[in-house]
C-alpha cells in the first residue's frame, strides 16, 4: 500500500519512495516532475503560468509560476535529502491548448508558453528533461511513482502513455 499524494493547481509537493504523486486534469498547466534516481526522491509541481515577473502581487504563491515553482520544489527535495549533484532528472507533461480560436493571440497559447518557460528554467538549473508529453489539445491526468521513476499519463480518447 503506497501513499498517494494529490498535487492541486499551483501546488508543488516532494516525497520519498514509495509515494505516488498525482495531478488530475492538467490542461494548459504543466506538470513538472523532478526525480533523484539514486535516493528515489520525487517532486511534482503543477505550474499555471510562465513568468512570476508578470504577477501583479508582490506576495504571490510560488507554485503558480514556472520559474518560482521549480526552484521551490527543488528546495523541498533537497530538504528531504535529494542530492543536487547526483543527477536529478525531469519529466514534463501538459501545456495543452484546450480551446481553439481563430485569432491566435498569445493569451490563447498559454500552454505552449508554460512549456517553454519550464524548459528554460530547467535548462538554467542544468536539469535534464529525459521525457516529455506536451501541448496538443487535450487534458491529462498524471501519476509519478517515486519507486520506479515512471510517469503515467492518462487522457480521454488519446490513450495512456508511460514515460
Amino acid at each position: 500500500m503506497s501513499l498517494i499524494i494529490r498535487v492541486g493547481m499551483a501546488e508543488y509537493k516532494a516525497a520519498r519512495s514509495p509515494a505516488t504523486l498525482v495531478t488530475l486534469g492538467l490542461g494548459s498547466c504543466v506538470g513538472v516532475v523532478l526525480y533523484d534516481r539514486v535516493k528515489k526522491i520525487g517532486g511534482l509541481a503543477h505550474v499555471m503560468l510562465p513568468d512570476s515577473r508578470l504577477s501583479s502581487q508582490k506576495d504571490f504563491n510560488p507554485g503558480k509560476f514556472a520559474d518560482t515553482a521549480i526552484d521551490a520544489l527543488l528546495q523541498d527535495m533537497l530538504k528531504l535529502g535529494a542530492n543536487r549533484k547526483s543527477d536529478i532528472i525531469s519529466k514534463i507533461a501538459g501545456g495543452a491548448q484546450m480551446f481553439k480560436m481563430k485569432a491566435e493571440s498569445s493569451i490563447m497559447q498559454i500552454g505552449k508558453r508554460n512549456v517553454e518557460a519550464v524548459k528554460a528554467k530547467l535548462n538554467e538549473l542544468d536539469i535534464k528533461i529525459v521525457a516529455e508529453d506536451v501541448e496538443g489539445n487535450y487534458g491529462r491526468t498524471i501519476e509519478f511513482f517515486c519507486e520506479t521513476g515512471e510517469l503515467t499519463i492518462k487522457t480521454i480518447g488519446h490513450g495512456v502513455r508511460i514515460l
Binding site: S56, K64, M98, I110, Y138
Partner: protein
C-alpha cells in the same frame, strides 16, 4: 477585497445577464428554462473544478472571450450526459448514447454557447453602457480540470483565488443543467462597478494587468 455592496452589484449584473440569456435559450430550445440566482464566488483554483464535479469529470466546455472596454471570459460547462441530451434536443434526432459527438452536434452546442454568451453580454453592455464584444465560441470535450485551467490561468497573474460570477440554467423537463461562469479580469471588475455607479475604494496597490 470587495465590499458587500460591490458583491451585490456584481450579482445583480449577473442576474440581468442570465435573465436575458435564459430567454434566448428558451426560444432556441422551445423549452422552459429556469435560472438559479447568480452567485459571486471567490474560491481557490482547485475548488472550481470541484464545483463542476471534480477535475476528472468528463464535461463539454464552451469558451468565449469578452473584450472591449472590459475583458473577461465566459465558460459554459455541461456534463457529458447532459450535453448528449442537449445535442439530441437541438438536432431533434435519436442519437446513440455511446457515440462521440458528431461535427454537427459540436457546432450546434457551440452555437448554443454563442447565443447564451451573446445575450448575456448584450444585457451587460446595455446596462453599463460599456462597449463589449464577444469572440466566436470554442468548444472542448475533456476533463473538467483541464477545461477550467485556461480561463483560471488568465486570472492567476492577479491573485491566488478565482473570482467568478456563477449561475446555472436548468431545462424544464429533462433537468439538463448548464453551468455558466463569468471570470472577469480583475481590473475589469472595478470598471464594471464604476460603470453602474457603485463607487469603489481606490486601492493603493497599483495593479498591473500582468501583460495579459
Amino acid at each position: 477585497m470587495y465590499s458587500d455592496l460591490e458583491l451585490d452589484a456584481l450579482k445583480e449584473i449577473g442576474n440581468i445577464g442570465a435573465g436575458n440569456a435564459a430567454t434566448a435559450l428558451s426560444m432556441m430550445l422551445s423549452k422552459k428554462i429556469t435560472i438559479k440566482v447568480p452567485q459571486v464566488k471567490i474560491i481557490s483554483f482547485n475548488d472550481v473544478s470541484e464545483l463542476l464535479g471534480g477535475p476528472e469529470k468528463l464535461v463539454v466546455g464552451i469558451f468565449l472571450r469578452i473584450s472591449g472596454d472590459i475583458d473577461g471570459n465566459i465558460l459554459i460547462v455541461i456534463s457529458e450526459e447532459d450535453a448528449y441530451a442537449l445535442a439530441k434536443t437541438l438536432l431533434n434526432n435519436n442519437r446513440d448514447i455511446n457515440r462521440d459527438f458528431s461535427e454537427m452536434e459540436e457546432s450546434a452546442l457551440a452555437e448554443l454557447g454563442n447565443i447564451i454568451g451573446s445575450s448575456y453580454v448584450t444585457a451587460l453592455s446595455e446596462l453599463t453602457k460599456l462597449y463589449l464584444k464577444i469572440s466566436v465560441p470554442s468548444i472542448a470535450f475533456d476533463m473538467a480540470g483541464a477545461i477550467v485551467s485556461f480561463p483560471l490561468s488568465l486570472y492567476g497573474y492577479l491573485g491566488d483565488t478565482a473570482f467568478l460570477i456563477e449561475t446555472e440554467f436548468v431545462e424544464g423537463l429533462a433537468g439538463i443543467k448548464l453551468h455558466y461562469l463569468m471570470i472577469p479580469d480583475d481590473k475589469s471588475l472595478k470598471q464594471l462597478l464604476k460603470a453602474i455607479g457603485v463607487s469603489t475604494f481606490e486601492s493603493d496597490n497599483s495593479r498591473r494587468n500582468g501583460g495579459i
